[in-house]
Structure formats: structure tokens, C-alpha cells
Amino acid sequence: MERRNFLKSALLGGIAGAVQLKPENLFASESKEAQKPNDLVAVMGGEPVAMYKRGIAAMGGITKFVKKGNRVVVKPNIGWDKKPEYAANTNPELVAAIVKDCLSAGASEVVVFDHTCDEWQACYKNSGIEAAARAAGAKVAFAHDEKYYKEVSLPKGLRLKSAKIHESIVDCDVWINVPVLKNHGGAKMTMSMKNFMGIVWDRRFWHANDLQQCIADCSTYSKMPVLNIIDAYRVMTQNGPKGKTTDDVVLAKALFMSTDIVAVDTAALRFFNQFKEMRIEDVSHIQKAERAKVGTTNLDAIKVERIKI
């Protein structure tokens, strides 16, 4: 009896494992064939690269976003002179996986950069991103001087009417925004939209002129990222965005991706809220961006796929 039960469950388990027999997947795969592709994909429970692979497949593959010959920019958060385990910067493995994927899709070049807060060479090095991106075949661009930025006008901005944006973004064909999910003392949260502070030269202007509005304003930029991928593998839940020790970090093992920057930030915020209470009204750049018709906070109105590994 026992043995039969064991065999049965082992067999069923094996099958379930092989075909990923989970309720969401069943429905998802049914509708996938008939309907439009996913607007937002959330992945949980895996390593950064594995989660990225599952996520991008559910978004329809990288070739949907990166065409052959495209000049691509992958923009992680490399703001701080901190090692990966402090979760102050985007996970280097994730950055490398995205770079490789873009190149395999036929990108003519992939550029990685960030306008750092701490001394830039230390940030590039200690975040592990420079080495990982280079090894994956990317070009790591300099962003520490005003000469690397070009004036761009933001006609839809309320407070931020123009900004000096990094030349590689201005000159590229497509760009992918890869922030890390963190708490933030001033902006409350830092996610996809807040990550735009690393593509501009003069951040101080934002802080002095209604930070939340400026974050939303920059997201009205005509050249938006084709994809936003929020790294929530390690999440800094307190003392952000720089953090003090690894005590500030939880191993959350999640990843969110979407073409809709407002939606992906909303999803990540709701996920974060489970660790530390965070009201969407307080992270007011999200709703300000929604009012500017950048995207939607209504996750029920878009097609969301949730994947657990």
C-alpha cells in the first residue's frame, strides 16, 4: 500500500514537474495561443538568470524587443560603491544574462552605463557589473562627466521641461531599463522610473524641484525603454538606497518585467509591501506618471502572468 502510494505520487510529481503543471500555467497556456501576449510578467523563486529566462520567454522572447542590428542600451542601477550582496545595485548576473540575450538576438552592440552617486570607477568595479557586462560582450560606457550627456526636451513634463540625457540613450535604437527594487528615504521607493535619475546629468535639479514630479516628468520622455526589468532577487527593505549592512537586505528571489513602466513599478511596490508597509499614494511619482498617461497602476486591466519556480 505504502509503496503503491509512493510510486503513484512519485509518478504524478514527475509529470507535474515535467510539464510545469500549475493552475496559473494551465490557464496561461490556454489563453496564450488565443490572445495577445503578456503585458507584465512576475517571476519568483529562482536564481536571477533562471528567472530572467522564464520571464523573457513569457514576454514573447527578446526578439520581440531587440531587432537584428539594433544598438541596445541596458541601464542597470550602479549608483553605489557596494558589493552585490548589499543589493544597492542591480544584480550583475542578471545584467550579464540580458546583455547576452540581446547579442544573441542580433544586437550590433550593447552598452551598459549608469551615472553613479559614489565615485564612478569604484561603483563600476565593486558592483561587479562592469566585469560581468564586459564578459557578456557589452561595452561599458562612461557617464561621470557632463560631456557625455545631451540636452533633450521633455514637452510633457510639468516641472522638468528638459534634461541632459546620456548620449548612449539618445543615440541607441532601443534601451532596456534594469533597476533594482529598494526602499528610498526620499522618494520612498526606487524602481523603474526612479532609475531614470541615472540617465540624466543634473539630478540635483530634481531634488530641488519636486522630486516626485520630476521622476514622473522624466518618464514622459519620448524614447522610453522597450522593456523594464526589476531585479528583486535581493531586496533592500530599509536604509535605502545605499544601505549600511547586509541586514538591510532580504533574499526575495523575484523579478518583474513589463513594457509598461507604471505597471511594473506598481507590481514591484505591491510585492515590496509584503516585507515593509508601503502605500502607493506615498510613492507619488507612480500616480503622477499615470496621470501623465505614461502607464497604468490598474494591474487587473492588463495581462499579467505570474510564474513560480
Binding site: 512576475a42 519568483m44 560603491d81 552617486c117 559614489d118 565615485e119 570607477q121 569604484a122 565593486n126 561595452k139 560606457a141 562612461f142 561621470h144 562627466d145 560631456k147 557625455y148 528610498h184 528615504g185 526620499g186 522618494a187 520612498k188 539630478r203 540635483r204 535639479f205 530634481w206 531634488h207 530641488a208 524641484n209 519636486d210 522630486l211 516626485q212 514630479q213 527593505t237 530599509q238 536604509n239 538606497p241 545605499k242 549600511k244 549592512t245 541586514d247 538591510d248 532580504v250 526575495a252 523575484a254 506598481t266 507590481a267 505591491r270 510585492f271 515590496f272 509591501n273 509584503q274 516585507f275 502605500r279 499614494e281 506615498d282 507619488s284 494591474l299 499579467v304 505570474r306
Partner: protein, 505 residues
Amino acid sequence: MYKWLKWGRVAVSLAITILITLAFLFFSNRDNLFFSKLLTIQFVPALLGVFTGSAVVLASLFILVLLFGRVYCSTICPLGTMQDTVWRITSLFRSKKSKRFTYSTPSKFLRYSFLVLSGIPLLFGSSFVISLLDPYSNYGKISSEILSRSEQFIHNVLSSIFPDTIFFRSYSQFIALSFFFALAFLILVILMSAFRGRLYCNTVCPVGTTLGLFSRFSAFSPVIDKESCNKCRLCISNCKSECIDIEKAEIDASRCVACFNCMTVCKKSAVKYKYMWGKGGQKTEKPVSGRREALLTMGLMGSFIAARAVTKKYLSSPKETENGIAPPGAISVSNLKNNCTTCQACVSACPNGIIKPATGEYGINGLLMPVLSFEKHFCGYDCNVCTQVCPNGALIPLSLEDKKLTQIGQVRFYEEKCIVVTDNTACGACDEHCPTKAITMVPYGDAGLTIPVVDRNICIGCGGCEYVCPAIEKAMLIEPRAVHQIAQKPKEDKQEKIVVDEFGF
């Protein structure tokens, strides 16, 4: 044989000068401390750092001089090598006649005046005068202000040719006083050496004068053999120290820098580098001149070292007030003023470019000493480079752990100037940059805003908040700690482990 000695000296002196120079250049100095560590072989740094790890170097330098004469001046001192190079180069444009040196009488009064002038303030805890005269430190200033800026210019020309592989080095601070001092000094030394060889070394340089007092008793000295000398004066015309008196057939050992030129050129082999100890006679025949000066100098040195040993204990009197923030490792502004000779090794080494030569922050006797400026950047939390490169012990080496707790200043928050108060909008730039969380954000009003609060006990004065504060009149300012303190450790913020299995939406 003397040819080998001479060319050996030239090779060693060029090598040392290049290595010293590399400690001030960006490309060689950015990722390692190798060249900076070599700076400790210089005389004044070794003297000032005698209680901070340089005793062996200082003793070795003295032994070297006692054995071989002023070889320090002709091989180790970068300014000496620079002067020889200037003479060489300018010789190319000179007529044969004006290429020749002649004998000159020593300007004893000037020499000892400069020595006393720079020595006495040292006894009373000020390295200011010696910082203006020390050959190494001035070579440092020339390297930092002129060579390093030229390097930056070349770097940036290259970066415009290869924009993808060579980055642009942002032009940051330019302190006119420091630049023009270095330039004026450079021009002065070039002129002196172009016309009179080692004139600086033998009239102005306090190191040259000091070593000259010892070199007269050195084991090996150049001597003229009266028998074989035919008075052709070839040695004189090649003596850059102008110290060969052919009439008396004497070489002034206090001015001779042991360059070996005279021995190399003498066709009669009349000038010899002779072992003098134990041969009695020769030396004591006539009274050694300059005994009084020797006593004076040794008295100065002795009392200097004694004064050091005593004051080391209470260098930092807690009453001091200063307007400048001294770099980590300085212990106190008075320790800095005691030991810094403004060589700018720290200025060149700071990866964040925030150390600048002071223009009055420490008062007159602190001019050109390193002071922090948070205008363009702030002090890196995970960096202790400046504390590692100082050869003088003006900045003592700090481990990263110690540096992270060294309170060089303390923040003061002016709430009424804060953006959150004046504009009623979110900011938090200061909190964002604070590495110890001496600044935290607390709720402000009902609109979900947060405002900074500061805990000055945790603050180490890195200046991240001051640098980044976007208010027109800064709401965060670092007040200097004239005597550096140890900050309280950052609070530990353990958080309970929350297991999350759902996406939350």
C-alpha cells in the same frame, strides 16, 4: 672606474625621480600604492615621520651620508636630479665658455639662516617654513600642480581620440595660490640651476645644509692629489656645486653632492674618491671649519627629535577651532601643521579629488596643507587612500575599519533651509548619500513626505550630504573637528525574517 660610479649614479637618480613622479600621476597611481610608498625614502618626510615608522629610513640616510657624502642630494632627491637635468638641457644651447662652472665661496650666512629659519618653527610645532623650502615637497608640488595637470590634459586629448576606451578626466579644482607657488618655485629653480648648477642646494636647501654638516666627516670623500694635479681646471668647470678650490687644492665636502663629475673628467687621475676614516692625519691637520654650525645643527636636530618625543603625547589639545576639515588620519589640525610639508601626495592620490591645498582655512601657517572640499564630491566611505600615501606621518595610516569611524567633522542640519520645508516636496538626497545613517528620514506632514533628522554621534563628516544637498543655501553643512574623534558605531538594524510566498498583487 669613476665612469661607472658616475653613470650608475645618473641611472639610479633618474630611476628614483621617475618613480617619485609616478606617485603624483593619475595613470600610475590610481590602482596601487606602490609609488606612494616609495616617498618615505625622502629626507624631510623621514625626519618628520621618525616616530611614525620612518626611524629606520632616517638612520639609513644618515649612514649613507656618513659613508659616501651627500649622495642623497645627487641620487635620491628628485629636485636635485631635476636641476642636473635642467643644466644638461640648457648646456645644449650655451657657448662652450659659458658652459663652465667656476669656484665660488660658500654663502655660509645664507645657508645657516635658511636652516635656522626652517628648523626653529619645527621645534615649536610648525612645519610651515620647511614646507616652503624642502626639495622633495616642492618637487611634489611641481609634480602635482604642473606635471599632473599636463598629464590630465594629455589624457583628455587621448580621450577625445579614443572616446570609447579612454575616459574623460573631469577638470575639478584649481587652487591658484598652489599652482602659482609651484610654478614660481619651478621657474626659480630652473633659473638657479641653469646659471649656477646646484646653487639652490648649497644656499637655500635646509636638507643640503644639514647633510653638508655630516658629509665633511664621511668615510669616502673626493680629494685632490697635489702631486699629479696640473691645475688644468677641468674639474672646476664640471663641478656643479662650484666647490673645488684649485688654488688650495681643496674640495668643500659640505657642498659636494658626490656627483663624481670631477673624477670622471680628470685626465691626470688627480681627483680621487678616497677612504678617509682611520687615516687620521689628513683631516685633523687643520681645524675643521664650520664646527660651530655643525654643533648648531646637531643641537637643532636633537632638540627637534626630543621635542617630538615629548609633544607626541599631547599633540591634540581639545580647544582648537579651525575652519578647515583635515583629511582622515590627520589626528588633529595641529598634528597636520606639525608634520605636513605640503608635498601634495594626498591631493594627487584622492580618487574623489576632494583634497585641495588650503588657502587660509588653517591660517597662515597652514597654507597649502590639505583641506577637504565637498564642492565637487565627498569622501568615499570605503576609501582610505590618503591615509596610506602620506610619507611624513602628517596623515597616519588608518585601516578601513578605523577610517570608517574617524570623525573628521560633524553635520549640522538647518531645517529652515531644507527643500522639504521650503518647497514642501520630497527630497532625501542627504539621507541617500549618508553611509552611516547618521541621517534618517522621518515622516513630515500628512502628505507622505519625509524630512531628515541627524544623529551627530554617528556622523563621520564624509560630506556626502553637504555635497548633494540641492538647496541653494545648503541645509546640511559639515562642521570641522579640529581634533578628530571616534564616532559611535552605526546602529545595527536587524530585521525579522519575513517569508513571502506570494506576489502581493
